[in-house]
């Protein structure tokens, strides 16, 4: 039997968005939605201490449902599947495709011939599987991350990538050690999406601002104050580390999710601003984009500082202060926008 879902389109590479975002974007585009207007509506900071996993698709979640965390303003839900075996994993993905649902499948880059890390570096990555050809022994795979891949892939190759233990790798300590374990993510669209109007966008911005200003009780870092406390805590840990770089590895991974969310929200504001003829919204979006670029500096300081975290800590602290200051201004700008229109 052969079945290949269509249309399936690659999300143009955005260097600060993770494979999780690009895979979800493919699902949204398949349903006829502009991914920027869905993935980017939410802007948030949330992190529960110790939660991070060494996966490119890691995303810190307030709720069990990942889709609800990333896209709370749209009728979407998601479920991570954890099949017990390779056979079960393949069977579940084929069933999803038979239902017309592309599967977002976790893989280890080490086993995929089209990834630059092939037979070189272990790293947990996410791709879209959208078809199968049992006679040819192939699965259809889309990877939007450069160099990119779109087409049939030997089923055995995908099986190996899905079953990897993703062992510790001295050349990529950020995304190794989290077992891939045949997992896959299903995204469900549960109803019509809201129309893009000024009122809807204003409501979205208002809810985002409330989350930033109202930190919930509990140990998690949340909102603007939570971000400040998280960066304080991280810089303090880096300053006292003996050299294993654990705090900076966490910064790189957790920071990617925050950076991607921030950059996508900037794209949301600027795209909505253009479509609605609302220039001040686009201008506020540009301020948010600046924050995504602060995260580049922070994350790369983390990556380059792994061997000497104590030396990097003061510079990290300085950059964190700049980020927090600019983020406060961006929040004020959005508040002012809601008042003025």
């Amino acid at each position: 039997m052969k079945m290949v879902l269509s249309p399936i389109t690659a999300w143009p590479h955005d260097d600060v968005a993770s494979c999780l975002m690009t895979c979800i974007a493919t699902v949204l585009a398949r349903h006829g939605h502009d991914p920027r207007l869905v993935l980017g509506a939410n802007w948030d900071f949330y992190y529960a201490p110790g939660d991070f996993r060494r996966e490119e698709y890691y995303y810190p979640c307030r709720f069990a449902d990942l889709a609800r965390c990333i896209m709370p303003y749209h009728p979407l839900s998601s479920r991570w599947h954890a099949p017990a075996s390779a056979a079960a994993g393949e069977s579940e993905v084929k069933d999803a495709i038979r239902r017309g649902t592309p599967a977002l499948v976790a893989v280890d880059n080490y086993y995929l011939h089209f990834r630059p890390a092939h037979r070189d570096v272990h790293a947990a990555h996410l791709v879209v599987v959208y078809g199968f050809d049992e006679e040819a022994g192939a699965m259809y795979v889309l990877d939007s991350t450069p160099p990119g891949y779109n087409g049939p892939l030997d089923a055995g190759e995908l099986r190996a990538a899905r079953g990897s233990g993703n062992p510790l790798d001295d050349r990529d300590t950020f995304f190794a050690t989290a077992p891939v374990a045949h997992r896959w993510l299903e995204i469900e669209v549960n109803g019509p999406f809201p129309a893009l109007t000024r009122e809807w966008v204003a409501g979205v911005v208002d809810q985002n601002l409330r989350r930033f200003r109202e930190a919930p009780p509990g140990p998690a870092f949340s909102g603007q104050d939570g971000l400040r406390r998280y960066l304080d805590d991280l810089c303090a840990r880096a300053a006292t580390e003996s050299g294993d770089g654990a705090a900076l590895e966490e910064l790189y991974v957790v920071g990617w999710a925050v950076q991607g969310t921030t950059a996508l929200h900037a794209a949301f504001l600027m795209t909505a601003g253009r479509l609605l003829g609302w220039d001040r919204l686009s201008e506020a979006g540009r301020r948010v984009d600046r924050l995504a670029h602060h995260w580049t500096a922070l994350r790369m300081m983390g990556a380059h500082g792994l061997k000497a975290p104590q030396d990097m800590a003061p510079r990290l602290r300085h950059r964190a202060a700049l980020l927090l200051g600019d983020q406060e201004q961006a929040l004020l700008e959005l508040q002012w926008l809601l008042r003025r229109g």
Partner: protein, 201 residues
């Protein structure tokens, strides 16, 4: 030594170079643009130490030989500029993921202004900040292999010099994501003539 052209001054960055971001296919482990040791392919870039023109602006291209430093990773360094009136500072560079930061321009008058330096990612991508792609390569060098279908990009960006006063030096941002391979200052001939006329009055 800085090289002066009729309308441009190509800065000599040799003493500021602190990283090797270019390698030959025969020795891809030479240097590392980013923390993973990726490098630009030397055989797809202009001649070592030669002058190359990108969209009408000449640059002095850095050395590419094994072991040679050829780029500035921004860590807050100060770069001296031959004092003069300029309109733009042109840059050949790239970022590890897109980034933007302030460069502080110091003028002979003592005035200091921050101006934006914005550079897109070196991975194959669109120019997020509207730069010109100076060199879009076909191969990316990894520490153990050459990746054939994924070429890094070196961008031509520019930083404005708004004051019609003599520029003396600039301070780079403390941002290790931003890498500079060459800088060229574009003179402001109209401003020079006007200032001379005003001073003569």
């Amino acid at each position: 030594m800085h090289v002066t052209h009729e309308a441009f001054v190509m800065l000599d960055l040799a003493s500021a170079f602190n990283n090797d971001g270019i390698s030959y296919p025969e020795n891809v482990a030479d240097g590392g643009f980013n923390v993973w040791g990726n490098t630009f392919p030397a055989d797809e870039l202009p001649a070592s130490r030669g002058v190359v023109e990108v969209a009408g602006v000449p640059f002095r291209f850095p050395p590419k030989e094994d072991g040679q430093l050829n780029s500035v990773v921004c860590r807050g360094q100060v770069l001296e500029v031959p004092p003069g009136l300029y309109d733009w500072i042109y840059v050949l560079g790239a970022s590890e993921r897109r980034s933007e930061d302030w460069v502080y321009l110091h003028y002979a008058s003592g005035a200091v202004d921050p101006e934006w330096l914005r550079l897109s990612d070196f991975w194959p991508s669109a120019p997020h900040f509207g730069e010109v792609a100076a060199f879009r390569c076909r191969h990316m060098h990894y520490p153990r292999h050459v990746q054939a279908d994924m070429g890094p990009v070196m961008w031509r960006q520019r930083v404005p010099v708004p004051r019609q006063e003599a520029l003396q030096r600039l301070r780079l941002p403390d941002n290790v994501a931003i890498h500079l391979f060459a800088l060229t200052c574009a003179r402001s001939p109209g401003a020079a003539a006007e200032r001379a006329r005003q001073e003569a009055q």
